[in-house]
Symmetry: C2
Subunit: 157 residues, 2 copies
């Protein structure tokens, strides 16, 4: 049998951590991300198989200056929150967020079961800023190629 | 109720055409692509919900010089063909193809039922070349921002 190139997405070791400083970390407690694109050495975009337990958020509500994003729901029911309000997404639903569109979004699992979705985002760490309309948090590109999180006045956490 | 931002992926109007010249067009006969990223104005990467009927190929076997690609299977069984040989992918399997890795790939549906998968590819039309190891076909960037297909000696079809 030939060397197998494909991988079972659900069996990839998940990442449980977050870059958020306290007190924001608790909002994504229990979130699991399986970094599928990284498995294959991809660096132009990331693809995560993400799992949210009941009560968890995907992220703080945010928008990106330079990175397109798209979400496709695979399992469960998840609530999308944007400036337009709330809507429930079910398996087979997808939603995209154009870079630079000033409308923060996140997902939250208000159901009693797990939610799984694929999330895709381009990687432009060198120029991307992230805006968090509801929280005293900001990401500004600093040339390091990393997403360094600061307060809105620029001071570190 | 708030304006609905999400879309049912399976209800998006599919694209049935191909840019392949004859005689290659027949190999992707019946292939349906639902361009999810385009729905939301994304232009850094494309995300297609693609459906292959029995007997159809995803594409001619190829690799990209500058565009990363990733496939996640949602329904059915599909055969991946690369230089390493063949393997069957099932729902939950994913495989990625790094830009510049000189190993052509494509998928073919040898089953009796439909196959559905998500395919993600970055968009670098300005610099991307596509290599087709098995066929007298090539794509070279010509500055037009389009994928113009020619013979390997550069003559048009």
């Amino acid at each position: 049998m030939a060397l197998r190139k494909a991988r079972r997405a659900g069996e990839v070791e998940p990442r449980t951590g977050t870059n958020y400083p306290d007190p924001f970390r608790a909002r994504v407690q229990g979130r699991l991300k399986r970094a599928l694109g990284d498995l294959f050495g991809l660096d132009q975009f990331g693809v995560n198989l993400t799992e949210l337990p009941p009560g968890a958020f995907s992220a703080l509500r945010h928008w990106h200056s330079h990175e397109d994003e798209l979400v496709c729901v695979l399992e469960g029911e998840v609530t999308l929150i944007t400036d337009a309000g709330e809507e429930v997404l079910r398996p087979g639903d997808c939603v995209g967020f154009k870079a630079g569109a000033a409308d923060g979004h996140h997902l939250t699992n208000r159901s009693k079961g797990p939610v799984r979705y694929l999330e895709i985002g381009s990687r432009r760490f060198d120029v991307d800023a992230v805006v968090y309309p509801d929280d005293d948090l900001a990401v500004q590109p600093d040339g390091s190629g990393r997403h360094r999180m600061v307060r809105k006045d620029g001071t570190p956490y």
